[in-house]
């Protein structure tokens, strides 16, 4: 019979090693890739130089060029707005009035250069309540 303490020690070693490795992986992976998630007004109030994600509502001035693969529009929240430029296929539900999340950088020219554009997906859990 081996004392329980020895057993605990023996099995704690792999546990501690795995935990340390996982901790390191989380730390190192999140170090470079976390981004601020902001609204347009928050971005305006506090200019971030790096990559950020910004949520806001698409305004009516959507302009498509290059056969629909390049698009410019204004994104706005309650108080602030910013011009956005994006190249790529657009989500199906993209149109003025929907909420989008753009990921990219705010250029010195004040235009937000988006690398990705996500539309808030109409979830099966949400529809507008019926109003008469």
């Amino acid at each position: 019979m081996v004392p329980a303490v020895t057993m605990v020690l023996k099995w704690s070693i792999p546990a501690v090693i795995v935990a340390a490795c996982v901790g390191y992986l989380i730390y190192s992976a999140s170090g470079g890739t976390t981004e601020y998630y902001l609204t347009v007004s928050e971005l305006r109030a506090n200019h971030e130089s790096g990559d950020v994600r910004v949520a806001g509502v698409v305004q009516d001035d959507v302009q498509k060029t290059d056969g629909g693969l390049r698009v410019t529009f204004t994104e706005k929240d309650g108080t602030a707005s910013m011009p956005v430029e994006y190249s790529g296929t657009l989500p199906d539900i993209f149109r003025p009035g929907i909420t989008v999340v753009v990921e990219g950088t705010l250029g010195a020219d004040g235009v937000f250069h988006a690398r990705t554009l996500l539309a808030k997906c109409p979830s099966r859990f949400s529809t507008a309540p019926y109003t008469t």
């Binding site: 081996v2 976390t34 657009l90 990921e103 859990f125």
Partner: protein, 667 residues
């Protein structure tokens, strides 16, 4: 409440009737559920077999009430009874009937009711099968299931009722978003919701065993069976979700590390760990507390996920209705956590410490332990990425991670798990000597061969050079087991099939391992070698992506009842692909892309129509996704392995108990 005629028109009587009956069924179910919970706990504690039986029947009655409510809601949907707010908000007269029927689980309230029904039916089945477990354990399990069922019925009856009536019956409903008007809607949500609901059963039996202070072979077999069911449903649900996203959403991928996907993955990972570690308890009587913890954690992850998904507190591509059920699930989650922690802290001692035999780390049980730790590590990685916006939001600037975080943090963990899949099954229980290490030569040789082949083909991605050889090694290990079976039957002049059928659990598991390897190869190939090209073509022009040549042959416009569709025709070999883009006038001009996908042996060619120009040109985004079809095929093999491996498994009561662990009752 009287049937008042609010707007002066004659009211359709069936509508309010279904509403009232449904609400009544939910309340009756809630009463029965509460009664079952109180009686079952009391009778279990008293070991009163008759009263435990009554408590169990009360649970069946509560489940039956949930089914009645479900039948009423489905009737209301199919008869277009727009007096119910739920029917109006999720369907309309133009929706095809199959999707009207699917509207049942298409919204918040209906999906909760669907969940409750699945919990009621599977819970009843688990209680019917619980007779061999003893009065005390069966009573406590029924009580816990009744508490969970009653919680859902309470939320349905009070906060999120699908039977709320509108004051005026509108002539037509609001309909379903076109993105959801797809065949995938018919299969993915019901499977994934059923998977979520079924985790409550292993949890209830684990917690009941802790309360009753026993964890013998019959308990393991019973809990394992329902954990396997939950795991299989969740596997199918995850794969169907990936399949649906891939075929419908048109971004060329199938997994986006969105919180909605993450919360479905985490209980799956924890249960995967349990299905492996429970074998250590079966074979060696060890890891009992750990197994309880895994089953309980899987359920807590389900409740956590439900809270996250339905409260909308983390940013997601999905928008969730800002609903009033969030706080209810938060309270339920906190109660479950407190209950579980208290239970594990104060009751796990009653299970008896495992016999302290020295167990070397290099052994089958050692491999299981490390694999378990890694799977829980993967849960931690996914959890951190999911809750980071919450944590950082409380501390100041809200931060999010993107897919690369998950890939970089969980990739190495999954790679080591693959290595364990290759080595673990060849290690013997207790101690691995030199002979058993020699058994590793086949997977090692296979991995080396694949590595050399990849290098010869000029592959430079380190991740691919590590993952694919290890996957090949894991496949070799599973195949070695089948080869051994063939060799043994040849030596003994026995027939192969009876051996495999007799040891089907073992061979089913290796088949599932092979399926997982096929999935891994598909994921790795499509991840490392996906090609993508944006292109604008005029009629007759061609484009070549990844060696596949596509020729644009013009486009046409088709008119349908509720939408206009631009269809592009693309010739690919002797096939014609028709990616299209529909615009629904009735929904504010919302567009809906139909992706054209063709599967060749090596890759999917995936064409998305971005737009058509006035001059006859059209813009496309073309993806070449290598081996994506392997993911679906591998998923099917996994499910097949699990089903074949466990079909007709004898009930634990009929099976002689191999090693009964004495139930130590607290003094």
């Amino acid at each position: 409440m009287p049937l008042e005629v609010l707007d002066g028109s004659v009211h359709d009587v069936t509508g309010p009737l279904i509403g009232y009956l449904g609400a009544g069924a939910l309340l009756a179910g809630l009463v029965m559920g509460g009664f079952s919970a109180l009686l079952s706990f009391w009778a279990g504690g008293q070991e009163n077999a008759v009263m435990v039986q009554v408590g169990r029947r009360a649970f069946y009655a509560a489940a039956a009430m949930a089914v009645v409510a479900g039948v009423l809601l489905e009737t209301a949907l199919l008869t277009h009874d727009f007096s119910l707010a739920y029917v109006t908000e999720h369907t309309d007269l133009s929706t095809p009937m199959a999707l009207v029927a699917a509207g049942f689980y298409g919204g918040q309230e209906g999906s909760l009711l669907y969940w409750t029904i699945v919990l009621g039916i599977l819970g009843s089945a688990s209680l019917v099968a619980s007779a061999g477990l003893g009065v005390r354990l069966a009573g406590y399990a029924a009580g816990l299931l009744a508490v969970i069922l009653s919680f859902f019925l309470l939320v349905l009856a009070l906060v999120a009722s699908p039977f709320d009536l509108l004051s005026i019956t509108p002539p037509d409903g609001l309909g379903l978003n076109p993105v959801l008007r797809d065949g995938g809607m018919l299969i993915h949500p019901p499977v994934v919701l059923a998977g979520f609901a079924s985790f409550a059963i292993p949890f209830s039996f684990a917690a009941a065993a802790l309360l009753a202070g026993r964890s013998d072979a019959a308990w393991i077999a019973h809990t394992r069976r329902f954990a396997l069911l939950a795991w299989s449903l969740q596997t199918a649900g995850l794969l169907l979700g990936m399949w649906w996203a891939y075929h419908v959403l048109g971004w060329g991928g199938y997994w986006g590390w969105d919180p909605v996907e993450n919360v479905a993955l985490m209980p799956w990972l924890a249960t995967t760990a349990y299905l492996h570690s429970s074998q250590v308890q079966e074979r060696r009587g060890r890891l009992r507390t750990w197994n309880f913890t895994l089953v309980i954690v899987a359920f807590l992850l389900v409740v956590f996920g439900t809270f996250i998904v339905r409260s909308g507190i983390v940013p997601s591509v999905h928008t969730f209705a800002v609903s009033s059920i969030g706080p209810w699930f938060l309270v339920f989650l906190l109660l479950c956590i407190v209950f579980s922690v208290v239970l594990l802290t104060f009751r796990s001692g009653t299970l008896g410490a495992g016999r302290a035999q020295p167990t070397p780390v290099v052994s089958r049980e050692g491999a299981f332990v490390v694999q378990n730790l890694l799977l829980i590590g993967a849960v931690a990685v996914v959890m951190w990425g999911t809750i980071l916006p919450l944590v950082t939001g409380m501390l100041g600037g809200e931060r999010v991670v993107d897919a690369s975080y998950y890939e970089r943090a969980s990739g190495p963990i999954f790679v080591v798990i693959l290595a364990l899949m290759a080595a673990g099954p060849l290690l013997p229980w207790r101690r691995a000597g030199a002979a058993s290490l020699r058994a590793l030569r086949w997977p090692a040789a296979t991995a080396a061969l694949v590595l050399v082949a990849l290098l010869a083909f000029g592959v430079t991605s380190i991740a691919a050079l590590v993952a694919l050889p290890l996957a090949a090694g894991a496949a070799a290990t599973a195949l070695t087991e089948f080869a051994r079976a063939v060799a043994r039957t040849r030596r003994d002049r026995a027939r192969l099939l009876p051996l495999i059928v007799r040891k089907r659990r073992r061979y089913g598991a290796y088949l599932a391992h092979l399926g997982l390897v096929v999935v891994v190869v598909g994921v790795a190939a499509s991840h490392f070698w996906q090609q993508e090209k944006d292109v604008t073509l005029t009629s007759g022009q061609s484009v070549t992506v990844g060696g596949y040549t596509l020729t644009y042959a013009g486009s046409q416009q088709r008119q349908a009842a509720d939408h206009t569709e631009d269809v592009a025709m693309i010739r690919f070999g002797d096939q014609t692909l028709e990616p299209s883009r529909a615009v629904y006038a009735g929904l504010g001009g919302q567009a809906l892309t139909h992706v054209a996908i063709t599967t060749t042996p090596l890759a999917d060619v995936y064409v998305v129509l971005a737009s058509t120009g006035g001059d006859g040109s059209a813009s496309f985004r073309v993806f070449v996704n290598p081996l994506v079809s392997w993911i679906w095929a591998g998923g099917a093999i996994i499910i097949l392995g699990v089903v074949l491996g466990n079909a007709g498994e004898r009930s634990p009561a009929a099976e002689p108990v191999r090693r009964r662990v004495p139930a130590t009752m607290p003094a």
